[in-house]
C-alpha cells in the first residue's frame, strides 16, 4: 500500500506529529526492554571470561568445533519438519473454525489452545508417561524410543499448534464475502477459489505462522532437555555453555548464531508485507459460513482427531498428577497437590504467577497493540518504524536463557537508573512482555492490515483526530485480536521459565519455576500437578474470554453480520 502513496512531501499535520512522537516512545521502550539487554549479553561474545576484548576469537573457536554443525543441522532439520507438520494442520483447523459450520465450535477452539496453557514440562512428562520405557503405548514406537528426534517433534507439534492457529484464525476470520460471491457467480471451481481468493488473503498469516513455528522450535530448550535424548540442538548448546559451564562468552556466540533465523524471518516478513493489501475494505461484506453437510462433517472429524490427540496428552498429565509413585505404585492420591510439602513457597508462587500474568497482559497488550498500530499507520518516518518492527521481531529468536542473562547484565548494572526494578515483580512483567512480544505484535499487525486505510482517510477528512479514530474505530474493530493478545500474554506468563528463572527473588517466585524445581527434585507427580493447576487457571481465564467475546462481539462486532 505504501507503493501507491504519493511521494511528494506533505506538511506534517498534528496527527502525523503525534504519531511520530508515539513511534519514538515505542522505539525507546523496545530498546530498553529488548535491544539493550540483548546487546549487553551478546557483546560478551567478543570478550574472554575475564572481560577482555578478544575480537572474533570465540567465534573462531566455536566454528572450528565439529559438534556445532551437527547441532545447527539438527536445529534446522527439526524446525523444518515441525513447521511442515504444524502449519498445514493449524491451517485446516483454523479454516474449519472460521469457514465451516462446526457443532461445538467453541469447544474445538478452546481445546486447540490447551497446549499454550501448559508449561513445556507438561508435554515432555506426559509423553514419557505415554511412550517412555514404562509407557502405555510404548509398543506403538516399534522398538524405537521416545527420547530423541521423534519425541522432540511430537512435543513441539503439540506445543506450537496453538501459536500457529492463533495467527491463522486471525488471518482467516476477516474475509470479504463479495469475493466469494463473485467467484461463485463466475463458476470458479472450489480449488480455484481456494488458490485465488482464500490463500492470497491469508498468505500473510500463513507465512507469519510458519516463521513463528520455525523460530519457536529453533529456540526452545525445555522440550529438547526433557525428551531430546542425545539429539543435540543449538538451544541445548546455549544451555551447556551458560548453565553447565557459566561460560557467558560462548553462550553469547551461540545466542548470536540463533539470531540468524530471526534476521531471515524479518527479511521475509518485510518482503511479503509489501505485497499484502487490505482485505477488509470499508465496503466489505463479512463472510459468514453457511451449513454444507459434506464439508462440515469432514472438518468436524478432522478437528475431532486433532482435539483427541491434545486431550490424550493432557489427560495423561492429569492422571499422572494423582499417581503415588510412577510406575510401581499406581494408587491415586491428593498428596501431590499439597505443594508446601515440595516447595517452601507452597501456593504463594501460584499467586505470584497470577499477579505477574495480569500485569504482563495489561502492560503487554497496550504496548504491542499501540506499537503495531503506530508502526503500521504512521506516514513516512520509515527508519524508526522499521526499527520498531525489527525490535518486535527479535524476541522470538532469542532463547529465554539469553534474554534472562541479558536482563541481569543490563538491569543490574550499578550505573543503570532502572536497576531499582531488579528483584521486583516489575522486572518479571517487563521481561515476560519482551520475551513474548513477537506473536502479539504479529497478531495485532495481521488484524490491522486487514482494515482499509480508507477508514483513516475518511476520519482525517472529517477532521477527526487520529487518536479518536484509533479509540472509536480501529481498536473496536480489532477488539477480538486485542483480547487474543492479552490472553496470549497471560497464559505465556503463567508458563514461562527459561528467562524469569534468573530474575525472580525470594518474594516473587513463580509457579512455573517452582514446577521445574520440583521436577528436578525428582517429584515428577507434584510437578505435573502444579502444571495441571496452571493449565486449569489459564483454561478458566480463556473460558471467561470466550464468554466475554461473545458478549462483546455481539455489541461491537455487529457490523460483521449481515
Amino acid at each position: 500500500m505504501s507503493l501507491a502513496a504519493p511521494i511528494q512531501r506533505v506538511r506534517l499535520s498534528r496527527d502525523d506529529l503525534l504519531m511520530r512522537i508515539g513511534v519514538c516512545v515505542v522505539a525507546v521502550a523496545l530498546l530498553v526492554i529488548v535491544g539493550l539487554p540483548l546487546w549487553s549479553l551478546l557483546v560478551k561474545g567478543f570478550e574472554d571470561r575475564d572481560g577482555k576484548f578478544v575480537g572474533l576469537a570465540n567465534y573462531i573457536a566455536y566454528f572450528s568445533t565439529p559438534a556445532l554443525f551437527a547441532s545447527a543441522f539438527n536445529s534446522l532439520y527439526v524446525a523444518l519438519v515441525c513447521t511442515l507438520i504444524v502449519v498445514p494442520i493449524a491451517f485446516l483447523y483454523a479454516y474449519a473454525l472460521t469457514r465451516a459450520v462446526l457443532p461445538l465450535r467453541w469447544l474445538f477452539q478452546g481445546v486447540a489452545l490447551i497446549p499454550i496453557f501448559a508449561p513445556s514440562l507438561l508435554p515432555g512428562l506426559a509423553l514419557i508417561y505415554l511412550f517412555g520405557t514404562q509407557g502405555f503405548f510404548k509398543s506403538w514406537l516399534g522398538g524405537g524410543q521416545i527420547y530423541g528426534f521423534e519425541g522432540i517433534v511430537i512435543a513441539q507439534v503439540f506445543y506450537c499448534l496453538p501459536h500457529a492457529m492463533l495467527i491463522l484464525v486471525t488471518a482467516l476470520a476477516t474475509a470479504d464475502a463479495r469475493l466469494y460471491e463473485a467467484a461463485d457467480a463466475l463458476g470458479a471451481s472450489k480449488l480455484r477459489v481456494f488458490f485465488t481468493v482464500t490463500l492470497p488473503g491469508a498468505k500473510y498469516g500463513v507465512i507469519s505462522a510458519a516463521l513463528v513455528v520455525f523460530t519457536l522450535v529453533i529456540t526452545d530448550f525445555g522440550i529438547a532437555k526433557v525428551i531430546g535424548g542425545n539429539f543435540n540442538v543449538l538451544a541445548t548448546d546455549v544451555y551447556k555453555q551458560v548453565i553447565g559451564q557459566q561460560n557467558f562468552s560462548m553462550g553469547a556466540v551461540v545466542g548470536m548464531v540463533l539470531l540468524a533465523p530471526a534476521a531471515l524471518a524479518f527479511a521475509v516478513d518485510r518482503f511479503v508485507q509489501r505485497k499484502q493489501v487490505a482485505l477488509l475494505t470499508a465496503h466489505a461484506v463479512p463472510l459468514v459460513p453457511r451449513p454444507k453437510l459434506g464439508r462440515d462433517v469432514f472438518y468436524t472429524l478432522l478437528c475431532a482427531v486433532v482435539a483427541a490427540g491434545i486431550l490424550l496428552i493432557l489427560g495423561m498429565a492429569v492422571w499422572g498428577s494423582f499417581i503415588k509413585y510412577w510406575p510401581y505404585n499406581l494408587e491415586l492420591t491428593w498428596a501431590n497437590y499439597k505443594f508446601e510439602a515440595f516447595d517452601a513457597n507452597g501456593w504463594d508462587s501460584y499467586w505470584n504467577s497470577i499477579v505477574m500474568a495480569l500485569g504482563a497482559a495489561a502492560f503487554g497488550t497496550a504496548l504491542t497493540f499501540t506499537g503495531a498500530w503506530l508502526a503500521e499507520k504512521t506516514r513516512g518516518f520509515f527508519l524508526l518504524r522499521d526499527l520498531v518492527r525489527l525490535l518486535a521481531f527479535l524476541p522470538m529468536a532469542v532463547p529465554g536463557l539469553v534474554l534472562g542473562l541479558g536482563y541481569i547484565f543490563f538491569f543490574n548494572a550499578a550505573a543503570n537508573p532502572l536497576n531499582v526494578i531488579y528483584g521486583t515483580m516489575a522486572i518479571l512483567v517487563v521481561n515476560t512482555v519482551a520475551h513474548f512480544y513477537t506473536v502479539g505484535h504479529l497478531t495485532a499487525t495481521t488484524a490491522l492490515k486487514q482494515i482499509d486505510p480508507e477508514f483513516e482517510a475518511v476520519s482525517a477528512s472529517l477532521k477527526v483526530p487520529i487518536w479518536r479514530t484509533f479509540a472509536r474505530v480501529t481498536a473496536p474493530i480489532c477488539l477480538p485480536s486485542i483480547l487474543d493478545v492479552a490472553i496470549y500474554l497471560f497464559v505465556n506468563a503463567m508458563t514461562t521459565v527459561s528467562s524469569v528463572i534468573f530474575l525472580y527473588s525470594p518474594d516473587t517466585k513463580l509457579a512455573s519455576v517452582a514446577a521445574v524445581n520440583i521436577e528436578e527434585a525428582g517429584t515428577t507427580a507434584a510437578a505435573t500437578a502444579l502444571c495441571v493447576v496452571i493449565v486449569a487457571t489459564s483454561a478458566a481465564v480463556k473460558a471467561l474470554h470466550l464468554l466475554s467475546d461473545r458478549f462483546l462481539l455481539g455489541r461491537l462486532q455487529a457490523w460483521r453480520r449481515r
Binding site: 575475564d50 568445533t65 565439529p66 559438534a67 551437527a70 547441532s71 539438527n74 514419557i128 517412555g132 520405557t133 514404562q134 524405537g144 524410543q145 527420547y147 530423541g148 528426534f149 532437555k225 535424548g229 542425545n230 539429539f231 541445548t236 544451555y239 551447556k240 551458560v242 548453565i243 553447565g244 559451564q245 557459566q246 557467558f248 509413585y325 510412577w326 510406575p327 510401581y328 505404585n329 515440595f342 516447595d343 517452601a344 501456593w347 504463594d348 499467586w351 499477579v355 542473562l405 541481569i408 547484565f409 543490574n412 548494572a413 550499578a414 536497576n419 531488579y422 528463572i501 534468573f502 527473588s505 525470594p506 519455576v513 524445581n517 520440583i518 528436578e520 527434585a521 525428582g522 515428577t524
Partner: protein
Amino acid sequence: MTFGRLIRRAALAGLAAAAVATPALAQKTKLTVYTALENDQLDPFKKAFEADNPTIEIAWVRDSTGVVAAKLMAEKDNPRADIIWGLAASNVGLMASVGMLEPYTPKGAEALKPSFRSGKSPDTWAGMDAYLSVVCFNTAEAAKGKKAKPASWADLTKPEYKDSIVMPNPASSGTGYLTVAAWLQSMGEEAGWKFMDGLHQNIAQYIHSGSAPCVQAAKGERLIGIGLDTRGASEKTKGAPIELILPKEGLGSELEVTAIVKGTKNLEAAKKLADWAVTRKANELYAKTYPIVALPGIVNLPPNYPADIEKAAVKNDVEWMAKNRDRILAEWTKRYDGKSAPKK
C-alpha cells in the same frame, strides 16, 4: 499477593507500630543467601540459624547449581547476594579465582577435616558436606531382564547393559563433570578415556542434569543411572526399587561450601552465618541428608545410604578439576557428544 499474605502484612505493620513503642526491639538484618540446597532443607536450616541469631533473617534465593552459579557470575559487577550457603566447591572455587569472594576464616574452621578447607589464608570458602556420584541400579527392571548387579565401573562396560545406562552430560552438569574428572584422576587419563569409550557403547543418553539419572533409574525408565547419591537415596525412601552401588574402584565426590560474597552490605551478619555454618549444630543438621560432613566425628547415615560411603570416595583435586575443565570437556565433546543421532 495472597489474601493470607495481606493479613500477614497488616499484622506486620501492627507489629512495627508496636516496635516503635518498644525501642529495645532492634531492626532485623535481612541476609540474602544464595543456595542450591534441596528445597526441603531450607526451612530447617533457616529456623536453626535464626534461633541462634535472632537479629538476622535469612532470605533464600534457591535454584539448581548451574542456575545459581550463572546468576552469581552474571551479577558479579553489582552483587545481590550477601553469602553463599550450599553451592558446589568447584563453582565457588572459580568465583574465588576471579576475586568475587570476601576472604574470611570462620571461627571454628580449624576443627574441620582438612579436605573441607579452601587451603587459603584467610579461607575463601568453608566446606559443609560432600556428595558422591554413585550408581543407581533398578532391581525390579533387572529381575525382569535377568541382568546381573554390577559391582565395579568396569562391569558397566559389559555388553549386557547395552543402551541401559544414563549419566549426566559433563558439559551441562557439574555432577557429570565431577564423575568424568574422578575417573580420569583415579584411573589415569589414558585408561580413563579407554573406560569411557567402552561405557559409551552402553550409554542410552547423556542427560543435562546430575539428579535426573538416579530419578530415571528409580522410575524404571532406565536400568542404571550414574548420578547424585542424595537423589538416589531419597527416591529409594519414597519406594523406588533401586539400590545404590559404590563401584569398588572408588568414586568422585564434591563438596558443598559456604562463602561470603565480596561487596556485601551486611558483612557482619554474613560472618555470623559463616561462623554458624561450621558449628557442630550445623554439621549435625547437614548429616540428616548427607552421609559425609565437614566436622570429624559426626556419623549419622541417612536412610537408604550404603554403609562405608565415606571410604569409597577417591581423592578429588578441585584445583585440578578447575584447571583442566576446558581441555577435558573439549575432548569429551569430540569423542561422545558429536554423535547426536539416537543409537539403535
